[in-house]
Symmetry: C2
Subunit: 303 residues, 2 copies
């Protein structure tokens, strides 16, 4: 089955939630994505780390079917992020961001990667996302994530990138911010009008929505008893979503819906523990079982 | 088919939203409930109005299949509420509340109403809710709504009322406030442990959830282009929910799910215009069509 090419960050996170604190654990969008996608397919991982990136993390990523030919090691220290979540886990404060080697990141795809059919452009500088789009030859499906920082600070490049991808992944605030309207659906249509065939809006504890043409699909989040660490939920979602699409190689609308549910399933596991901890123990059977639960708690019949 | 007995408020609302302003229009929980329920069945309406309640509102309620034998007119002025919604419609400021005759409200059920099979206790003083529960003989289904004001100010009476009803209707904040926990599911379980067989949690623009025993059902809100006035959404939801259950007289879990969707459908119409305006023009066909749309935008298949 086709691998997914993912370009994003790999780094070390220090995270505090009401349930505990972890220091310098494996983090970054590409790391979460690759481990999540590994439940379905392998990942060609393009990112950068410093010389202090622990050997065990290389091993972990390699063991999760990640092809590390595109993971560059540069002189210097790894990208580091540190954050603290509030009591209700819906808000977080970034305590520190050290770009370190990430400041030098200029993704260059190994020749084999240029043939990638499925591409995830995680949340990085849209100029870099554009340069990756220039390097892939004939992708079947490209998906892009971004954040408020680029929406306000690199709007032009981001707009160009939005024009060139198939699926855009944003949260509600980002859609409203980009489109400059409190009306989510109006904002969504404005983004779709740029060219993407679909927009996935992440709603955090309320789930995710897939908009495509006149189509609309709402998948609620899994009703978790306790969320231990929401870090990486969006990238894990993307890994499940795109991993499933690559595995099935089917871009029908019905399959996009299934992919959205699989993304939600994988994200629901990801937040059950710190870092990628829970994603390392979850089995394909667990994933299938939770998919069925999603169906059970959203199903109602015709009348 | 069985009517629904509803005990709540009827009054005059002055509402300002980004889309306009209306003065002294028909409002109150029982008014919204009755008009919403009229899409499915008739309502025995128990409430109080003042001598200044306009004749046209009596006519309107009567024309919407509301039995007004329990609508008492007392000397004095009607209950009045005035509020202003913020730009995003998710928050509102109450500008003024005039209880007027509502301060004297002591619901006394006409004899025929004591045989009611379906009862909605709208958001009023839980002492009054308890007195209504004392007056009905053998209800098949009782549902209760409340608000933060009673949770903090009349907790004991509210708890007693919660113990005695079948279904509790609360929004997320009310569940968290009542249970004193940020964990919604834990809070829900605490409320269910008091005795109700089901809890419906309203999530506003994110829909509603039905919890019962081990069961969980999530119905998203309808993706409306524009909401003109969210006032009465919860009571319209209750009217659709309980109206459908009374019409079908079927309390199976599958039918409770359908009822939750119908409640969401009716609420989605209610917020399309001020007061009960939109509910007066919507047809049973419109309701069925939107129910099918709800199914279409939540459906995904087994794998």
């Amino acid at each position: 089955m086709a691998p997914v090419l993912c370009v994003g960050t790999v780094g070390l996170d220090t995270v505090e939630t009401p349930f505990g604190r972890v220091e310098e654990v494996l983090g970054g969008s590409a790391a979460y994505f690759a481990v999540a996608a590994s439940l379905f397919t392998s990942t060609q991982l393009v990112s950068v780390v410093g010389e202090d990136f622990p050997e065990c993390h290389y091993d972990l990523l390699r063991s999760r079917a990640a092809d590390l030919a595109g993971l560059v090691t540069l002189p210097g220290r790894c990208f580091r992020w540190s954050g603290r979540y509030h009591f209700d886990l819906n808000r977080r404060d970034t305590l520190e961001t050290q770009l370190n080697v990430l400041a030098e990141f200029r993704p260059v795809l190994p020749p084999a990667y240029r043939e990638a059919k499925f591409l995830f452009l995680a949340n990085i500088d849209p100029m870099l996302q554009l340069s990756v789009l220039d390097q892939v030859r004939h992708p079947r499906l490209t998906m892009l994530d971004s954040m408020n920082y680029w929406i306000s600070g690199a709007r032009e490049a981001l707009t160009e990138a939005l024009r060139r991808v198939d699926i855009v992944l944003m949260n509600e605030e980002e859609v409203r911010q980009y489109a400059g309207t409190p009306h989510l659906l109006k904002g969504a249509r404005e983004i779709l009008a740029l060219g993407p065939s679909a927009l996935v809006i992440k709603k955090g504890e309320y789930g995710a929505v897939l908009l495509h043409g006149d189509g609309y699909f709402y998948c609620p989040a899994y009703p978790l008893e306790e969320v231990r660490d929401p870090t990486g939920a969006g990238d894990s979602f993307a890994g499940g979503f795109l991993g499933y699409l690559a595995q099935t190689d089917n871009l029908s609308m019905a399959n996009l819906r299934r992919a959205l549910v699989y993304g939600s399933v994988v994200a629901s596991f990801a937040v059950e523990d710190f870092s990628v901890g829970r994603l390392l123990t979850v089995t394909p059977d667990d994933v299938r079982r939770r998919y069925r639960e999603f169906r059970e708690f959203t199903y109602f019949d015709e009348v």
